[in-house]
């Protein structure tokens, strides 16, 4: 009898607890669309607070001009952003509009997570007429418009001006790998704390360009565009140079992370995206500059424009408002003035002309102008590109640390790539 009595009191207490929790929930709940005809859209991106400050300003501007649309923002660091996005997408609750990049278009396109924006272009909610250099097609996959660029970048060599001047090599359009290797050798010399170049053997985008210079590419429509022998040579050459003391050893470059070897003043040259210059120059007092990728024949760099984009979720209940939002973000000159090159060189002529770049931004603009004539169309990035990129970097990492041999590393990479690409 006593046990029955206690069970009811226990339940009552539990009920009280749940009520308390309910109160807490109602206290901090909310969100969703309010009843006054106002539409709320959710917008997520990756970045840190500096980008958040700029984006918040552009959203204020947007909400002022479109009082019927409210934009709720949410941002994380790159890795966390995708963790959250994947969970939310799997749970049927992705943000209405979000930052995206080329590497993910096919992946999420195939899963039908992305809205085909072509319908909105036809309906006149999204204007693509003002994009620079064919960028309006950058987000197109198999005839569907899955993303709209908000900024464009190309690959580059960030180099230490003084170190290159000392050895008498000028990195300029048309320079060759031979010139590059010679400079690296001279700069490294017999120094023990400064090297000619960072060890970028694990950077997928650099190897992609190297392959493109030979008429191949990292990816084909479905799989990898190179053989195990190709990769053994690429990684083998890097190991060789590293053993000769020409490249920053893995131990040193790991120690200075999250700084890059160039901004940590260990290396005179590093291959990366041109917008990284903004961060690099903030981390060092040395004079840095940008140069195109060295070539094999003095002409073909293999470079292309890649971009950060805005994509809309296929599940959004407000495709029109989302399209209006994207249209505003890529076409409004004021937005261009606020954002600058935070997400890459501005995508439309109106924004490009409205913003007067200074400091590193001016160098990036000048660099992109100087390479425009060499740019080629981007090769496809199949679904699984992100996994392959991560595997390429981490496996080369263990090769560089000496824990894996080049041959084993190559075999391991091909195994993982096969799984990731499903081929």
């Amino acid at each position: 009898m006593s046990s029955r009595l206690s069970r009811t009191t226990g339940l009552r207490a539990l009920g009280a607890g749940l009520v308390a929790l309910g109160l807490l929930a109602s206290g901090c709940g909310g969100g969703g669309d309010s009843g006054d005809g106002k539409v709320t859209i959710r917008y997520s991106w990756w970045g840190a607070q500096d980008r958040a400050d700029l984006i918040n300003k552009t959203i204020e501007l947007f909400e002022k001009e479109h009082p019927n649309i409210e934009v709720k923002t949410d941002f994380q660091e790159y890795g966390d952003f995708w963790t959250k996005f994947n969970t939310q997408a799997a749970g049927g609750n992705p943000p209405d509009v979000f930052q995206n990049s080329h590497a993910f278009l096919r992946k999420y396109g195939q899963k039908n997570l992305l809205l085909d924006l072509n319908a909105q272009v036809k309906a006149g909610n999204l204007d693509l007429s003002d994009f620079r250099q064919g960028l309006e097609k950058a987000g197109e996959v198999d005839g569907k418009l899955l993303g709209v660029p908000v900024g464009a970048n190309t690959f580059t060599v960030v180099y230490d001006v003084e170190a290159f001047k000392k050895v008498g090599v000028t990195p300029e359009p048309g320079w060759t790998w031979e010139d590059f290797d010679k400079a690296v050798e001279k700069i490294s010399g017999s120094k023990k704390d400064f090297w000619g170049a960072s060890d970028n053997g694990g950077v997928m985008y650099l190897y992609d360009l190297y392959l493109r210079q030979q008429g191949k590419a990292f990816f084909t429509e479905k799989g990898l565009g190179f053989t195990e022998a190709d990769l053994r040579k690429w990684w083998g050459d890097h190991r060789e140079k590293s053993k000769e003391g020409l490249l920053v050893p893995a131990k040193q470059s790991e120690q200075v992370k999250p700084k890059s070897s160039v901004s940590a003043e260990l290396s005179a040259a590093e291959f990366t995206w041109d917008n990284f210059l903004v961060r690099y120059t903030s981390e060092t007092d040395k004079e840095l500059a940008l140069a195109p990728i060295p070539t094999m024949d003095g002409k073909k760099t293999g470079q292309y424009l890649s971009s950060l984009m805005l994509s809309a979720s296929a599940r959004t209940k407000h495709p029109e408002e989302v399209a209006t939002f994207i249209d505003f973000m890529v076409n409004d000159p004021e937005v261009g003035k606020i954002m600058g090159y935070n997400r890459g060189v501005l995508p439309t002529n109106a924004q490009f002309e409205a913003y007067k770049p200074e400091g590193p931004d001016a160098m990036i603009a000048e660099y992109e102008n100087s390479v425009t004539e060499y740019l080629e169309p981007i090769t496809p990035h199949p679904a699984g590109t992100d996994t392959v990129e991560a595997a390429f970097l981490s496996i080369y990492g263990s090769v560089a640390q000496g824990t894996t041999s080049v041959d084993d590393g190559v075999a391991q990479f091909f195994g993982e790539a096969k799984t990731a690409l499903g081929s």
């Binding site: 206690s6 539990l14 929790l21 901090c28 958040a52 400050d53 660091e77 049927g92």
Partner: protein
């Protein structure tokens, strides 16, 4: 620190000459270990007083010229949100968790330890089994569930489980503790006419203080430090907890504000430290008294 010294003194008095070198060695060894353990903390304190570009790359532990800029910048908030917002949010989650765990886990533990019912052992085994489930297996189904209930972007998904005794570890801890309490106490209470509820509330719970305090400390620290839960469920920076706020300082293609991040780390450490200091005395006391009962 004062308690052990008091117990050691009489022993030293009898065997002082022989024991002194050994005790010096022992203390020197302990100090060396302490230095290793505390090094990261000292590094953070030192770094929070350095300008941003000296934090990464400079090998000096302490700043040559200490500055307070990093802390002053925190006062302006992160991305337009005052940092006190993050702390209030974290406190809601952490204190909510403590209350939920104390209440629900002790109740569940009481049932497992004191009430005989059919299938008790099976249920107990199943509960322990949930400890083996990786978080990632539950992540998506749980998200779908809360999403359907329209509870995403509230603190409910972070707290509901705590009020339903989902933390098997704490239930287990309390069950083990309750099993050691003398049965005669509840039998006496039962003879005096107490039901289960009253035995739980007036006899068992007060005796479980050490277990309750241990659980509070752990659940507070775990909830305070939890990153994945808030990351997945909270969609507006205004609702973010401290652990999410900490990550707002850097990204791969943004200017990284190391100074702000390190200063925020220091600030994030404080509440946990204070909570531990406030309850640590009870923890030691509890362990000591429960040992006496044997």
């Amino acid at each position: 620190m004062s308690a052990p010294a008091g117990t050691v003194r009489p022993a030293q008095a009898t065997a002082a000459p022989r024991r002194r070198p050994r005790s010096v060695l022992w203390h020197a060894g302990a100090l060396a270990v302490l230095v290793v353990v505390l090094y990261p903390v000292i590094w953070v304190i030192g770094a929070s007083l350095k300008p941003g570009d000296e934090i990464v790359g400079s090998l000096q532990l302490l700043p040559t010229d200490p500055i307070t800029d990093n802390y002053e910048r925190l006062a302006d908030g992160i991305a337009g949100i005052g940092i006190e917002t993050f702390f209030v949010n974290s406190l809601i989650v952490a204190l909510g968790s403590v209350i939920g765990v104390l209440f629900s886990c002790s109740l569940a533990a009481y049932a497992f330890a004191r009430v005989r019912f059919a299938g008790r052992n099976l249920l107990f085994t199943l509960m322990i089994g949930t400890l083996l489930l990786p978080v990632h297996v539950l992540l998506v189904p749980q998200y779908v569930l809360f999403q359907k209930m329209e509870l995403v972007n509230t603190y409910v998904p972070l707290l509901l489980g705590k009020f339903l005794a989902v933390d098997a570890f704490f239930v287990f801890l309390m069950v083990q503790f309750m099993r050691n309490l003398p049965k005669e106490l509840d039998e006496a209470a039962r003879i005096d006419g107490c039901g289960h509820w009253r035995i739980y509330w007036t006899i068992v719970l007060p005796l479980c203080r050490p277990a309750l305090i241990t659980s509070s400390i752990f659940s507070f620290i775990w909830a305070w430090n939890d990153f994945l839960g808030p990351l997945i469920y909270l969609n507006e920076p205004e609702k973010y907890t401290v652990s999410l706020g900490l990550k707002m300082f850097m990204d791969q293609d943004s200017l990284a504000d190391y100074g702000g991040m390190v200063a925020m780390s220091m600030a994030a450490l404080l509440p946990v430290l204070l909570f531990f200091l406030a309850f640590q005395r009870h923890l030691v006391e509890g362990a000591a008294t429960s040992g006496l009962k044997g």
